[in-house]
């Protein structure tokens, strides 16, 4: 998949989203997501937040940073931090090779990269198909999970990167070793 396609879809989708409206609980909206693998698990982020998908390039590590912070890369003159999603979920450390990709997402004013194993698919999901995360209410650390969806009998967890990598308020994940 190229960035060009990505942008086109982003544009197309933006109109859809405007119509669909973001009011939670409202049924009938359709959103598109990019799904990706970390190990055997499938995750997805909303396509409108994705700016670019890059092959892994070695990052400059930042001292005294959380272990899931893989360092910073140069994206056309802008310094972008790259986070290891696997480490964030305490599933170990990704040893990135040529097949690994960094998904560049835009969170409000910030641009960050998320290191994942591979991009899987573009999903078009009606909002009513998104199922809630069990126990989410009692586990505040699951706030980064928007919901679960079943695609071709596989579970995809839709995540909100903002909740995972917002430097101002990183919720202390019970599962994270940091």
């Amino acid at each position: 998949m190229t960035t060009q396609e990505n942008d086109d879809q982003t544009l197309m989708e933006q109109t859809n989203i405007e119509q669909a409206s973001d009011i939670s609980g409202q049924k009938g909206g359709i959103k598109q997501y990019i799904s990706f693998n970390v190990g055997k698990e499938l995750y997805a982020v909303e396509i409108t937040t994705v700016r670019e998908i890059k092959g892994w390039i070695p990052a400059t590590s930042l001292p005294n940073s959380p272990d899931y912070m893989r360092g910073v890369i140069n994206m056309r003159g802008v310094i972008v931090p790259v986070f290891d999603l696997r480490t964030r979920f305490s599933r170990g450390h990704t040893e990135p090779g040529k097949s690994h990709v960094v998904i560049i997402v835009k969170l409000d004013e910030r641009t960050i990269g998320i290191l994942v194993d591979a991009v899987s698919d573009i999903l078009t999901i009606p909002q009513e198909d998104i199922l809630s995360v069990p126990d989410k209410d009692v586990n505040p650390e699951y706030a980064f999970m928007e919901g679960l969806v079943s695609v071709e009998d596989k579970m995809v967890a839709i995540i909100k990167p903002r909740m995972l990598f917002d430097m101002n308020s990183i919720p202390d994940l019970g599962v994270a070793a940091a």
């Binding site: 400059t60 001292p63 003159g77 802008v78």
Partner: protein, 704 residues
């Protein structure tokens, strides 16, 4: 479409801020006893122009206040009043009120009815002393003394000028004629746009406007005719002599003059808002200078700076790649890359110079601050400024305002004594604060010196002990005690005043300055005063750096801090009991800072005798030796923010992009200094009794 009036308002306020600056400058000069005629004129003109513009927009409060001020200044200008210190105080107060009124008008705020009333009264009182009541003055005096004398035999002419449609085809331009006419005397212009046809019928090259001028001049009709000499055949021209001119009520008209002097070339921009105006007065046109500067939107300049930044990175890449080429094989290419490097460096200097601003823009806020402070504290102080023209990048001027204000406040509040105390100590009652700026060694230095009481070391030490910042048995040098005032939560004021001493203190000032890559130091002598010196980089966008290897990583050290690089012999390196290493350097033991350890970098050279030691100067002139693997090269780096997309990283002031496209981090020397001190804390807190940081350990670690 934006309202044209709004657009003019923006211009007006931009000009106001310039005018206010020059007004204050002038007043300061007058206060300093420099009663040069030019200075008086410039002060008068500034008030006059503000009043003029304000009148055009109907800022009545501003106009009426400025009018009194103007009248007073006019008396000074005409010699009716001598400049006296008593007046100066009133004039300076009036300046403050005027700036407030301008600010209020700009923010579209209402001001209290009695705002500035006492100052206005004081000015009126001075005017009354001169014998001529204010009201009468308005009626009988023109603001310009030049025209004053001229008007004795001035005549009023009415000139009707109606160009034929073909005027432009003969290469004539009415505005030039009007300007010329303006040089003859006091000109009022009324524009007649009644002949302007509908847009469909309009011929682009036809002249449709006509004018009705009133000219007060001592020249005769022939002189006026001469102005129109070349257009005589292309227009209807009527000149009528209305006889000897007796000054009518000049004020309202006058009020409308200022603004339109500057937009006079755009009669078609908003014909409906054009009011009769006076053109440039003869006295002014003589001084009129062709503007040597243009206003450019900041965004455009910033884009330019960013692009040049990218260019510098690309150039570094080319140079790196070019270094591998064989000169014999590609002599021209190698030479070309060299030339390119030089040109880009020059280009960058030029671009940075565009953003450079004199520190005047920051300094100019200080006299007023001192005035207000001394008034509210009952002290007497004089602010002496020098080097206001020293230039520094906008990014720096923008951010030194607050720290500087805080320091000035500090000097007035804590530094200077009350007048009676000063008198007892044999000093003049009026304290002097010197604020100066100068360039040295690629940095800008700003010094704030007062001749006050200096830092009372005893009180400072007691306070520090009481606050638990220092252990009671600590033995501190004078310099260490002076530096205590930079500690968080430190305030020596015996009572917390509303001026300073609100908990945020010099520690915040130091933090702010450090975050700019600057340093601050203090020298103080009890009874004689204190001097704060800060040194700041000239720009926050680029710096000269030394690229060093630490393990697999490349870091940048700011070149300005580097004293020397050396490889010590085994016998030069010694250990302290806490495990840290020191090295003899220029007759002193300096601490060796293991950067690899502070940055947690694996596979770096840990033994300074195998790697290199870069001796750097930290805060307060403290020398440290940074242990690195090797030096790579020296180059100019473009500073990029890590915070934009991530967060502040301890020990790192920013990042840059090297020639190979990789990101490299810039070492923040002052936080490294703190981090290295914290290592000591770790050592002490690792003592068996407790894992928590003992207060003692914290104290000794912070006072290094």
């Amino acid at each position: 479409m934006s309202d044209p009036m709004e657009q003019f308002k923006v211009i007006f306020f931009e000009e106001c801020s310039d005018l206010l600056i020059s007004l204050e400058e002038g007043l300061m000069q007058l206060q300093a006893g420099d009663c040069d005629e030019e200075v008086v004129h410039s002060v008068f003109r500034a008030v006059h122009s503000i009043k003029g513009g304000a009148g055009a927009f109907g800022f009545d409060r501003l106009v009426s206040f400025a009018h009194i001020q103007e009248t007073l200044l006019d008396d000074i200008r005409s010699g009716a009043l001598e400049v006296e210190q008593a007046y100066m105080t009133v004039l300076l107060q009036a300046f403050d009120i005027l700036s407030e009124l301008v600010g209020a008008a700009q923010r579209d705020e209402e001001v209290a009815d009695d705002f500035g009333g006492d100052v206005a009264k004081a000015m009126k009182a001075i005017l009354d002393q001169t014998g001529v009541p204010l009201a009468e003055k308005n009626a009988t005096k023109k603001p310009d003394i030049e025209t004053d004398t001229a008007e004795k035999n001035a005549r009023l002419f009415r000139i009707l000028f109606k160009p034929y449609a073909e005027l432009f085809q003969r290469a004539n331009e009415p505005i030039l004629l009007i300007r010329e006419l303006g040089t003859l005397g006091d000109l009022t212009v009324a524009l007649d746009v009644s002949d302007v046809p509908d847009i469909e019928e309009m011929e682009a090259e036809h002249a449709y406007f006509s004018w009705d001028f009133s000219l007060i001049t001592e020249y005769d009709e022939a002189a006026i005719r001469e102005v129109f000499e070349f257009v005589e055949d292309d227009c209807d021209l009527q000149i009528t002599d209305h006889g000897v001119y007796l000054s009518p009520e000049a004020f309202v008209e006058d009020a409308q003059a200022g603004l339109f002097e500057d937009i006079e070339d755009e009669p078609d921009a908003s014909p409906d808002v054009l009011k009769p105006r006076k053109a440039v007065k003869p006295a002014k046109s003589g001084e009129a200078v062709v503007s040597q500067s243009i206003r450019v939107e900041l965004d455009k300049v910033d884009t330019l700076v960013n692009m040049v930044g990218e260019l510098v990175i690309t150039q570094a890449m080319l140079r790196e790649q070019g270094g591998e080429l064989l000169v014999e094989q590609y002599p021209n290419l190698v030479q070309g890359i060299e030339d390119l490097s030089r040109h880009i460096r020059d280009l960058q200097d030029c671009v940075m110079a565009i953003r450079a601003q004199p520190v005047k823009s920051v300094f100019s806020r200080m006299p007023r601050l001192v005035r207000e402070l001394t008034a509210s504290l009952g002290k007497k102080a004089r602010l002496v400024m020098s080097g206001e023209d020293t230039e520094v990048d906008k990014t720096v001027t923008e951010r030194i305002g607050d720290p500087l204000m805080h320091m000035i406040r500090n000097s007035v509040d804590h530094g200077l004594e009350m007048p009676d105390v000063r008198a007892k100590a044999g000093k003049s009652e009026e304290g002097v604060i010197n604020l100066s700026a100068f360039h040295r060694g690629g940095r800008i230095f700003i010094e704030i010196a007062d001749d006050g009481a200096g830092i009372n070391k005893k009180i400072v030490l007691e306070k520090a002990i009481a606050n638990g910042l220092v252990s009671p048995d600590a033995n501190l040098s004078d310099e260490e005690i002076n530096n205590l005032i930079f500690m968080p939560g430190f305030s020596t004021a015996e009572s917390v005043t509303n001026v300073s001493g609100r908990g945020v203190g010099m520690d915040v000032v130091r933090k702010n300055i450090q975050s700019l890559g600057g340093r601050i130091s203090i020298r103080s002598e009890e009874g004689k005063g204190s001097k704060f010196t800060m040194s700041l980089p000239l720009t926050l966008a680029v710096m000269d750096g030394m690229v060093v290897d630490i393990g697999p990583e490349k870091y940048i050290l700011p070149l300005v801090n580097i004293i020397q690089t050396l490889r010590p012999g085994k016998e030069d390196v010694n250990s302290l009991p806490d495990g840290r290493n020191v090295m003899m350097f220029r007759g002193e033991y300096i601490l060796l800072v293991p950067l690899y350890d502070l940055y947690h970098i694996d596979n770096a050279i840990e033994n300074p005798c195998e790697g290199l030691v870069v001796v750097v100067e930290g805060d307060g002139g403290v020398l440290m030796g940074f242990i690195v693997d090797d030096l790579v090269n020296q180059q100019q780096v473009v500073i990029k923010s890590l915070e934009a997309n991530y967060a502040l990283v301890e020990g790192v002031s920013g990042a840059t992009i090297l020639g190979n496209g990789r990101v490299s981090l810039i070492v923040d020397i002052s936080t490294i200094q703190d981090m290295s001190a914290n290592q000591l804390r770790k050592f002490q807190s690792a003592s068996p009794e407790t894992n928590k940081i003992s207060p003692q350990a914290q104290i000794s670690s912070e006072i290094h």
